[in-house]
Amino acid sequence: MADTSPNAHPGWFTRIAHPGMFMGWSRHLVLPLVAITVIAFGVGLYFSFLASPADYQMGDTVRMMYVHVPTAWLSQFCYAVMFASAIGTLVWRHPMADVSQKAAAPLGAAFTALALFTGSMWGRPTWGTFWEWDGRMTSTLVLLFIYLGIIALWRAFDDQLKAARIVAVVTLVGAVNIPVIKFSVDWWQTLHQPASVFRMDGPTVDGSILVPLLVMTLAFSLLFMTLHLVRMRTEITRRRIRSLELAQARAAGGAA
């Protein structure tokens, strides 16, 4: 494919990333994604409840890891998606990057909240408390606040084009800051709790645990992809609605 005239033959990326094109090809992707997600969850739940033994130390509470670890992974993966989209917004001003950012933020908040919830459910039987000021839990909570702040910022703006670029700046600042927050929280924990009583990575991960863990992580990742795709499509439709409504108002104004 020789790109002699870029206007007549835009590159493959430009073509698939054009909002109109995106709506065209992504339509055929939604149903297959839903199907794979459902199958992955079926297999994952089968493994996590029926085909895996209880841990010799943690007993059946190990089964909570199969929802906790995937959601915790998604809470960070989602920020990575927002970070990449933020760069797309700021550097190329790509409308799809704006849409991707906006669609990902509530998902990130939901999965982070879920990671915290399952973590505290896991913490009660193993640590004896729902909430522990543990490094991971605390920095996950701060991550949740950052997600919620970003959502609040999205909602504060009327002009969505401007909002996307402003939110992108905040997302980048957050991305630089999250490692610092993580480090400071860990430092703070060692200051106040010199003995590391609570170690999650203590027992070696057995193969029988690894299989359900991987399948459930895959299932949750697929769920994220499906929801993200559908939300992106909805967001593009919403933008179309806005321009159509403007056109309608203009026509009504012209007729009057």
């Binding site: 606040f145 609040a152 504060a156 401007k162």
Partner: protein, 220 residues
């Protein structure tokens, strides 16, 4: 460089002309610090133990309160649009404004520290530590606050969004700021102080770029 100092001078003059703002800020800082003992109870040993936390929370809130006016008046009267055609880049101008803002909102807190130290029963050692940590840490608060202020400058009803964005980001400042107060562990204390300095330097160096970018976007 002339333009840089001119901006600092301009902002200082503007800030000092409305001396009321400066006084209100200091007053707010002291009142928050004095109010907390009423919530805790007049237990002197306990208050002395909580003092670093009280001072830092009061400083955080006082700084948070002052950020809104950092760019808003310049944005609304069009000065920011003019700045974009200045010889100095917007990043440099924002940096100058941050320095002026810190002199107007960070330094007064340090000056007001003795009052709080007295009522909270700080030891002499802890008093000097508090002065040191406030000096080392408030520039980072100014830097994070500037990003929050720049991001919400175009919003008519941005009120609570900026604090909600800024507070989680300021968490490391709070941790290292209060972490420095530990007479039993000199090593951790110096570490915290050094980390606080590093945080302030890096955030003051990087924040102007982020804030200037947000201001440019808001001004379009």
């Amino acid at each position: 460089m002339r333009a840089f100092t001119a901006i600092i001078g301009r902002d200082l003059r503007l800030g000092l002309r409305q001396g009321g703002d400066l006084l209100t800020l200091v007053l707010f800082f002291v009142i928050v610090g004095v109010l907390l003992p009423f919530a805790v109870g007049p237990d002197r040993p306990l208050l002395a133990q909580l003092a670093p936390a009280i001072i830092w929370v009061a400083a955080l809130l006082a700084q948070l309160l002052s950020h809104d006016r950092l760019f808003r008046s310049d944005f609304e009267d069009g000065s920011l649009a003019l700045f974009r055609h200045a010889s100095l880049s917007l990043d440099g101008i924002v940096f100058a404004k941050l320095i002026a803002h810190w002199l107007l909102t960070g330094l007064p807190l340090v000056v007001a520290m003795p009052v709080l130290a007295l009522v909270l029963g700080l030891t002499a050692d802890n008093f000097w530590l508090a002065v040191l940590t406030l000096l080392a840490g408030t520039p980072a608060l100014t830097a994070f606050g500037a990003i929050g202020a720049a991001v919400t400058v175009g919003l008519k009803r941005g009120g609570l969004v900026a604090p909600v964005l800024v507070l989680p980001l300021s968490l490391p400042v709070l941790i290292f700021g209060t972490g420095a107060f530990d007479p039993t562990r000199v090593e951790a204390s110096t570490q915290a102080l050094l980390l606080l300095c590093a945080l302030s330097l890096v955030s003051m160096a990087l924040a102007p770029f982020a804030a200037a970018l947000a201001l440019k976007i808001s001004g379009e």
